[in-house]
Amino acid sequence: MMDSIIQGVLLGGYYAVIACGLSFMFSVMRIINLAHGSLAILAAYILYVLADRFGISPWLGLAIMLPVMAVVGFALQRLVLERSMRAGLLVPILATFGLAIVIDNLLFQQFGADTRSLAPFIGDLAYDSWAITENIYVGKLAVLVLAVAVLLLGGLQLMLSFTPIGRAIRATAEDPDTAGLVGIDARTVNALAAAIAVVTVGIAGAFLGMRATFDAYSGGTQLLFAFEAAVIGGAGSLWGTLIGGIVLALAQTIGAQINPQGFLTAGHAVFFAVLFARLFLPGSGFRVRIRTLLGQEA
């Protein structure tokens, strides 16, 4: 049981990393990006190609891939989200859904159905572990992922709270029209925020490739986990996202202990339990949150 809890918390670190970008984008731009998972897979393939064809280690590859993802995020905002947002709340969701299908199938066309992994390129980090007690081991990579999750979410939170760009992002999220009147270029700020979000997706994709396998159609599952973690943690709250990732992963690992099929089922069950609790429990601030989740004054 102790082992399940420890492994659950570590897995939660990964879920927090993948949910981070989704939650950030929702809180800043009120956009649910359904291409989120596919972008993570795209990032993983970029690292794979760099390692496989050009012999660049995935760690070095990050220095190439993350700037590429930043440009992808900037372009995504300018070319897809900004335009589709003018047509209402639902259109960006449909647009990113379409984008997800395009990315998935382009990757499939290019790379085929083989599952890939970055594990062979990162040496013994892929399987090495520290022994905590005689029969509890923690993977070094899993600990690293959790540490990055804390740094990433904490860093984003600090950036939002204490830097000029963070204040500009929050002001734009609240009222883009007035932000313009105090000298903030709302378009650029939104594009920068999208770039930041997609960079975190790139980090998540790198970790996915290192700790597991992926193929062209793995994006949907990653999106699902990211979405569940973000909602459990309270969409739009970055520290909540870390808690949400850990709760989701704990449910999954404990579920898997009870029944071999229990991994996904328990995760979904907790997700729905939290969702319905927020919808139907009266008097809590959660109701407000769910209204924001469903699109403000819905």
Binding site: A179, L181, G183, I184
Partner: protein, 242 residues
């Protein structure tokens, strides 16, 4: 020196033409009060000056150069700041954070966050309070402060007394006093005619998007302003010409 010029400005909200062929030139350091009934086009004109609303036709010149197509956020950098109607503070941010936003325009000058907190003394103890928790007067002071931190040459004030108690309005205008004397060009929309005439050098009255009165505040009588406000002049002129 002419600071701000409007040439034949037309501004529309969809099919509704809110400002019709308005031409106006404003001198440097002038305090101009814009008055008129609800729907006369005052706010729309102010928003067009700030760049928040793109005019359908006509030009806006700042220090002689055309700024008609320049968006609001860049005009702030050129020294045009607006205090929007209803304050429009960022409710989830603190007073200090709201004021700090004004710094991002990148204009340095005498107005800093500290100076604003000194001038608007009622804000000082609320420095770290969320803007949503402020009283109306404090919110208005914060909104004006936020515009001041951009160190504007032209300050556009839209109904700063709206929804405030008379006491709070006094305080806001009192703290504006030093600003009014500092040589900043000010265009203000004010419902309170007495207040407008007391503060301004010049009064411009809008009726259905057109200028119906443009006079020095010291010379104009209340009756003339009232007539212009309700369109009595225009009606008389109309019947005289027909």
């Amino acid at each position: 020196m002419t600071h701000l010029v409007l040439e034949n400005l037309d501004v529309r909200h969809g099919l509704l033409q809110a400002v019709r062929a308005v031409s106006l030139s404003i001198e440097k350091g002038e305090v101009l009060a814009l008055i008129g009934a609800n729907g006369a086009g005052k706010t729309t004109m102010l928003r067009a000056l700030a760049g928040a609303h793109v005019p359908a036709s006509g030009r806006i010149l700042l220090n002689g150069s055309d700024i008609t197509g320049i968006p609001a956020h860049r005009r702030v950098g050129m020294g045009v700041a607006m205090v929007p109607e209803g304050r429009r503070l960022f409710a989830d941010m603190t007073v200090e954070e709201n004021l700090l936003l004004g710094r991002q325009a990148g204009r340095s000058g005498e107005w800093t966050v500290e100076r604003v907190l000194d001038v608007f003394a009622n804000l000082k103890p609320r420095r770290n309070a969320r803007a949503a928790t402020l009283s109306g007067g404090e919110q208005q002071a914060c909104a004006i402060g936020r515009a001041l931190v951009t160190n504007p040459d032209v300050l556009l004030l839209d109904e700063v007394s709206l929804g405030l108690s008379p006491l709070a309005v006094d305080r806001v205008y009192q703290s504006l006093g030093s600003l009014l004397a500092s040589g900043t060009t000010i265009v203000l929309v004010e419902q309170d005619l007495g207040r407008a005439l007391a503060v301004a050098d010049r009064v411009v009255c809008l009726l259905e998007g057109r200028i119906v009165l443009d006079e020095a505040a010291a010379a104009v009588s209340r009756e003339r302003v009232t007539q212009a406000y309700f369109g009595l002049q225009a009606a008389q002129a109309g019947s005289a010409s027909s």
